[in-house]
């Protein structure tokens, strides 16, 4: 993918104890025009970030001195709207983090693709900007499937008008499923739709996200059972 240079006045905080990852992520985001503040230690990051909140935070989960979950909780307490992306190097960690109501906006599993990460950062910045400007979606940017309504610009989902708060990955999965109700989507297809820039995502990751997506929809609509597991194949969206 050809990287389009555009200037963003936004700041991204990168907190990871791996110097190589810090260095490359910093370089890549700077090339996209973001201002980057990188930290190798959770406490150091918190001490600096609470002075001046970033526009977006990328957090590793395992960090020295203060782990990413704690840092996320503290940042959330300061700002509801701050987009947060988690980087995780363990599948079990992902499950655990998904179970916590941390309100993270996305999760990527190491080894992730830098292109994927950059794309997510862009999506999250855009979503944050559009949400600030209020709900005025153009009709062609809306996908409707029964009571489900997906705003493809803002990456927001509504069930009978009620907002379902989804991560970017969950939104992309739901969009992929809801576009063709009744059709089975294989995990491979879902992977390609949810991680367009990353060909190395494990199938377990998809399952974790689907599980979480179902739970969020059930929280909104207790009788929801629209996402069906097709054993040996993948998943199918059945509509309301």
């Amino acid at each position: 993918m050809r990287v389009v240079k555009s200037v963003h006045p936004e700041t991204v905080a990168v907190v990871d104890d791996e110097p190589a990852i810090r260095e490359t992520v910093t370089f890549a985001l700077k090339r996209e025009g973001y201002r980057v503040r990188a930290f190798g230690d959770g406490r150091e990051a918190w001490e600096s970030l609470q002075q001046e909140l970033p526009g977006l935070a990328i957090l590793d989960i395992v960090l020295p001195r203060m782990d990413g979950l704690e840092l996320c909780r503290k940042l959330r307490a300061r700002s509801e709207a701050l987009p947060i992306i988690f980087l995780s190097s363990r599948d079990e960690e992902l499950d655990r983090v998904l179970g916590l109501e941390l309100g993270a906006d996305d999760y990527l599993c190491k080894p992730f693709s830098m292109r994927e990460l950059v794309a997510r950062v862009k999506v999250l910045f855009r979503r944050a900007a559009l949400l600030r400007s209020g709900p005025s979606a153009e009709p062609e940017k809306l996908l409707k499937a029964g009571p489900l309504e997906l705003d493809l610009d803002r990456y927001t989902a509504r069930w009978n008008g009620a907002l379902v708060s989804l991560t970017v990955t969950e939104f992309l999965l739901l969009q992929s499923l809801a576009r063709h109700p009744g059709h089975v989507k294989t995990r491979r297809q879902l992977m390609e739709d949810a991680y367009p820039h990353d060909a190395f995502v494990s199938e377990r990751t998809i399952d974790s996200h689907i599980k979480r997506l179902r739970r969020k929809l059930v929280e909104t609509e207790p009788s929801f059972s629209g996402i069906e597991t097709v054993h040996g194949l993948g998943y199918r969206y059945e509509g309301g």
């Binding site: 104890d17 190097s89 693709s113």
Partner: protein, 538 residues
């Protein structure tokens, strides 16, 4: 793999109670065999019969002697004597002349003194049932081993012509002692014993004979009473043995069954350990077994946890360099400037090196874990080893100054030189990596309470208290200040601990009050001096 789950459970269930049954059978046999022996052995019966025969012979002799006066048989002497004796005898006594003609017979002398009524005893139902139960064993044994019955004389001993015949009579009339056993007319199991004693006459030929006849019925009656008694004792013992066996099985078999159930519960369907045995408070061998099993499963559980966490840790540790390599490769691909591209390729190279190092250290660590016991080890002088290791650092031109302070005596430990060199190199590497340029790392060797004690002190930042408990854990790593320099895996100190603990030693770390960290290795020291000569090492 056939040991897991269902297949192993089924035969175990089939054997349920096997130990209890065997205990019961064993106890019953112990009680029953001697008792049965008493019941079955004919010795006692034989002795009683002999005793009866002796007393009959005695009676016969006395009578024969009394009648041996010349002419005693001719008159009414014999019936008179018998009439006098009659009420005092239990046997039937007949006197015959030299031709076998009956001269006198106690049975023709009116009613005899009756023996105590046996019917009353026989009639008691309980004893009858007991006796029948006993008789089953008794007749069974007789069927298997028929007792040697004496030959039976079938002829009627009291012919109507008053002439008494029979082998014993013939023998007595020819001057010898005669004896015959006949079946009792009553047709019971009892027999009639008949003996004949010659009565001395004037010549060589006897003048007649005294024939004493008695049924063994009385003896059998006595034996029956004895056997009944023994059988009652035997039954009581069997009941007692049953109760005792139950108690014993409660104290042995039951706890063993519980242990087995516990063992079955500990393995889940997939054969994984779930928890461990309870530590029993019992003071006996079963308690010891349960405690041993508890320790065993606790160790296994620990090892299982270790394996599971180890796999997770390894995948975690590999994902970080893998992530760096992947994004560095992507970045190099997307880079527009040549210098950027080179920079990312360098990062990728560095991370590949790190993965290689991680792999080799992991291999090292599992090898140490598995082989330390079997590796060659001998008396190793720590003085020489530490001198050599420090010299090696000096020769390589380290940025840190290593100084070794050897003690006056030579301190030796039982270990492999290669492994101990690895321990100290890892500790010195660690100390050096935290030391500022030109600072000193001091190595001291002492003997303390029989242990060889090596202290390695650096002048680095020391170790924060919160990290102290974790620094010897695998993959634990804390590198403030200069993270880019000197790729590390977090395994060096873990390897140190594995080796030292494998030799029965300990390793600890502390922050010095004056700054810097001190690592202390304690190893069991070999005995030296007089004691070493007196007691050669085992």
């Amino acid at each position: 793999m056939g040991e897991e789950g269902g297949p192993a459970g089924a035969p175990g269930r089939r054997r349920r109670g096997g130990l209890s049954t065997r205990l019961l059978a064993f106890n019953l046999l112990l009680v029953f065999i001697p008792a049965a022996g008493l019941l079955y052995l004919g010795t006692y019966e034989k002795q009683l019969l002999e005793a009866q025969e002796r007393s009959m012979v005695q009676e016969g002799r006395v009578l024969a002697a009394a009648l041996s006066e010349p002419g005693a048989l001719a008159g009414e002497e014999a019936p008179r004597v018998l009439a006098r004796l009659n009420r005092r005898l239990e046997s039937r006594i007949r006197v015959v002349d030299a031709h076998g003609k009956i001269l006198a017979d106690t049975s023709r002398l009116g009613p005899r003194r009756e023996k105590p009524a046996e019917e009353g005893r026989e009639a008691k139902g309980r004893e009858r049932i007991l006796y029948r139960v006993g008789a089953i064993f008794y007749s069974l044994s007789h069927r298997l081993l028929p007792p040697a019955e004496p030959p039976l004389e079938m002829r009627e001993p009291s012919p109507p012509d008053g002439q008494l015949r029979g082998r014993e009579v013939e023998a007595a009339l020819s001057g010898r002692y005669g004896r015959t056993v006949r079946p009792s007319p009553a047709g019971q199991r009892s027999v009639t014993l008949s003996i004949a004693i010659p009565i001395a006459g004037e010549g060589a030929a006897p003048a007649g004979a005294v024939v004493v006849t008695s049924s063994t019925w009385r003896i059998l009656q006595d034996l029956y009473a004895i056997r009944l008694g023994i059988f009652q004792v035997c039954l009581a013992s069997v009941a007692l043995a049953g109760v005792l066996s139950l108690l014993v099985s409660k104290t042995i078999a039951r706890p063993l069954q519980e242990l087995r159930d516990e063992a079955a519960a500990i393995l889940d369907r997939r054969g994984r350990l779930q928890g461990s045995f309870r530590r029993s408070q019992r003071k006996d061998e079963i308690g010891e077994l349960s405690r041993a099993l508890h320790d065993l499963t606790a160790r296994l559980e620990g090892y299982q946890r270790f394996l599971e966490s180890f796999a997770a840790e390894i995948s975690h540790e590999f994902r970080n360099p893998l992530a760096s390599i992947r994004i560095a490769a992507e970045m190099a691909e997307d880079a527009e400037k040549e210098e950027d591209r080179r920079r990312f390729l360098e990062i990728a190279q560095r991370e590949v090196q790190r993965m290689e190092r991680l792999l080799s250290e992991l291999r090292e660590m599992t090898r140490v874990d598995a082989r330390l016991e079997s590796e060659e080890q001998g008396a190793l002088s720590l003085n020489a080893l530490l001198e050599r290791v420090c010299e090696g650092y000096r020769l390589r031109g380290s940025r840190v100054v290593f100084s070794f302070e050897p003690p006056a005596e030579t301190i030796t430990v039982q270990a492999s030189g290669e492994r101990m060199a690895q321990v100290f190199e890892n500790l010195l590497d660690n100390a050096a990596s935290f030391s500022p340029d030109g600072s000193a790392v001091r190595v001291r060797l002492d003997r303390e309470e029989g242990a060889a004690c090596v202290r390695i002190a650096d002048q680095g930042p020391g170790i924060p208290d919160e990290h102290l408990p974790r620094i010897f854990e695998r993959f634990f790593s804390w590198r403030p200040g200069h993270p880019e320099a000197d790729p590390h895996t977090g395994l060096g100190l873990a390897i140190v601990r594995t080796i030292v603990e494998g030799y029965g030693g300990t390793v600890a770390a502390a922050t010095n009050p004056e700054g810097g960290a001190t690592f202390t290795v304690r190893m069991p020291a070999s005995r030296t001096g007089v004691f070493a000569k007196l007691a050669p090492r085992a």
